[in-house]
Amino acid sequence: MADTTTDIADDIVDDAMGSTHDLTNDDHNDHGGDHGEDHGHGPHLSLGLSNMKLAMWLFLGSECLLFGALISTYLLSKVNFLQELVAGNPYVVGTIGGEIEVEMIAQNSVEPMFDIPFTSASSFVLLMSSLTMVLAHKAVLEGDYRNSRVWLAATALLGSVFIGGQVYEFTAFYREGLTYTGNLFGSAFYTLTGFHGLHVTGGIVMLAALLILSSRGKLQADRAETVELVGLYWHFVDIVWVLIFTIVYLIP
């Protein structure tokens, strides 16, 4: 037998994973791995979790570090930009120009660039899309395919509205003088929000694919996990916007 230390450590680790039971009933089917399985006798799943769901969570964990780095970059770039702008660095002064730049210098803040009511509205739209997403998932689970399509379409639509808002915002900012190459703030702002926008766009594509599957009758209760996975991704993107909205827009 292995020595007792090993057993104790085993208990600790299993406990950390949240195990309260022995793995007695782990005869689950493979619930989403693309491992080739035999019917009713899928590969043994050690922790009884779905492979796909586990993988999605790991991916989202990885994304935390990605957006963390982008947000830090934005904050640092903003601070450095403002410092140089206020100090009158001629390579920075005039890169935005007009009233907005004057206001920025006066307030020592990038706030004059933003249109808070507009962004609040688009934040609300994205929050709402999270609601429609969970409702879509619930509808699929309950076999209510008609409603699931409605909610999926609503989610995709709300996401598209958000992207439309972002495109509008970018064009407006660009017209007001904030360019990607002009200064640090522009580079960092467009990169951070653009990265988020790309994630939303990716989500919309996935939702559209789900809609196609659903309309062909291939998205039924046994596939609810697929919807849940897309949902996880979608909510994560929403969470990131919750952070961006507060950190970038509201905190000067």
Binding site: A2, T5, A87, N89, P90, Y91
Partner: protein, 458 residues
């Protein structure tokens, strides 16, 4: 403020001459080169020559022995265990098993705790030393016009660029900058731009060799004009990066007069290996004389050949280089817009006002003066033309025996990129180049004239 008063005295007297200055400045420098650099490992970190480097050395010295003990125990022990316990795999009886030990918790805890305690003990000294190394003469930036003891001590700004070092001596003790933002304090916030420095014009600018008084702590303020470099004089202190847009502090202190060489140690592009520097520590009075000389303007030469060289210099070199001289035509003072029209990413080239008082040029890779045994026309690149310290040391004759390295200087002026890798071609898009342009249009005679002019700039 003795430096300043000495300086003023010298300035007022107007009595210094070319010859006397050579004796005051160059002779001690070269003598030091001879005396102190006979060692064949000029960068050796195990031979500290200043209190800062000594500090690091003393901190580390006992730790080396701890490491040696661990090394012998683990590496020697590991090999010994493996050797002593070996058996022949071919004739092994599978049932002849060693005792199946799975572990020993007490032992594990012991060898987790013991090194942790050891390291905790060491880290007390280490952290203490980290803060010691940061100690400055002037903890705070000085207010404008402030002359308290706080503002005493020599401060030097070190500016790295591809691929040479510039030094600014705060001779008048009012900080390196003019109080540009008018906040009453002269500090690095008075810079105009991260990469361009509108510096106090009263300060002294030199290049390549940092001359310091021996036995005194000199505080450095380090920055860079282009990429990251690292300033390192191994015998005097560790290194510190010079980062564009950032201002780091560091300090040097040499126990005794001597020449201490160093190398840029952060990779900085094409000629990283040819970005060298040295610190020359002088006795206090010699240093003050040296500084007074550096602060003065260059003399307009009387020799016609040198005079012709001066005109050629004005026509060809002035868009990048600066020579402050006292000619009636007021050759070059720092023009306000000197950064604007210069096709260099670093926007600057060395100040050559006292070029001939330096022992090396071209980023510290060529000797300005050659010893008796050196062949100035040896064209072999680059070995024979490096400042050969050991050869100088073997010829401890008078400094007058050293000859002006005119052959290498001519090669350098006519085609610098062939002597040291540079991106001298100007990029048509950005209008930027990085390095000294070649001057193929200069004839051999003209080169002689320029070099003759440079020789007068001591």
């Amino acid at each position: 403020m003795s430096i300043r008063s000495n300086l003023e005295q010298l300035m007022r007297s107007r009595s210094f001459s070319f010859r006397s200055l050579r004796r005051v400045c160059l002779v001690p420098v070269l003598a030091l080169v001879l005396a102190s650099c006979a060692d064949d490992k000029p960068l050796n970190t195990f031979e500290p020559r200043g209190p800062k480097a000594q500090d690091v050395y003393d901190l580390m010295n006992p730790i080396w022995y701890v490491m040696l003990v661990v090394f012998i125990l683990v590496v020697g022990g590991g090999i010994a265990i493996a050797f002593m316990n070996r058996v022949d795999g071919d004739t092994l009886d599978p049932n002849d098993l060693p005792e199946q030990v799975h572990g020993n918790t007490k032992l594990e805890i012991l060898w987790t705790i013991a090194p942790a305690v050891l390291l905790a003990g060491i880290s007390v000294f280490v952290v203490d030393d980290i803060w010691n190394l940061e100690e400055k003469n002037d903890p705070e930036p000085c207010a404008v016009g402030e002359t308290s003891a706080n503002c005493d001590g020599l401060d030097v700004m070190v500016i790295g660029q591809q691929w040479w070092w510039e030094y600014r001596y705060d001779v008048d003790g009012d900080g390196f900058f003019v109080d540009g933002n008018g906040d009453g304090v002269v500090d690095d916030r008075d810079r105009d731009l991260p990469l361009e420095f509108v510096l106090d014009p009263d300060d002294v600018a030199t290049a390549t060799e940092l001359v310091i008084p021996a036995g005194e702590q000199v505080d450095l303020l380090l920055t860079s004009r282009d990429v990251i470099h690292s300033f390192w004089i191994p015998r005097l202190n560790g290194k510190r990066d010079t980062v564009p847009g950032r201002w780091h502090t560091w300090s040097l202190n040499a126990d005794s007069p001597g020449k201490y060489t160093g190398w840029c140690t952060e990779f900085c592009g094409l000629s990283h290996a040819r970005m060298r520097m040295s610190t020359i520590a002088l006795e206090k009075d010699e240093f003050e004389a040296w500084l007074a000389n550096q602060a003065s303007a260059a003399e307009v030469p009387s020799d016609p050949e040198a005079m012709a060289g001066r005109e050629l210099f004005a026509a060809n070199c002035m868009s990048c280089h600066v020579i402050r001289d006292d000619g009636a035509d007021g050759i070059i003072d720092y023009p306000d817009d000197f950064a604007a029209n210069v096709p260099l990413a670093s926007h600057a080239a060395p100040d050559l006002t006292h070029f001939a008082s330096r022992t090396t040029f071209a980023g510290g890779i060529y000797a300005t003066y050659l010893g008796p045994g050196t062949d100035p026309n040896d064209d072999a690149f680059p070995a024979e033309n490096y400042l050969d310290i050991s050869e100088l040391a073997q010829n401890p004759t008078a400094a007058d025996d050293y000859r002006w390295n005119s052959a290498e200087l001519k090669r350098w002026v006519s085609n610098a990129p062939s002597r040291k890798d540079m991106h001298s071609e100007v990029d048509p898009e950005s209008g930027l180049g990085r390095g000294m342009l070649p001057f193929p249009q200069l004839t051999d005679e003209q080169l002689d004239q320029i070099v003759a002019y440079l020789a007068t700039l001591d």
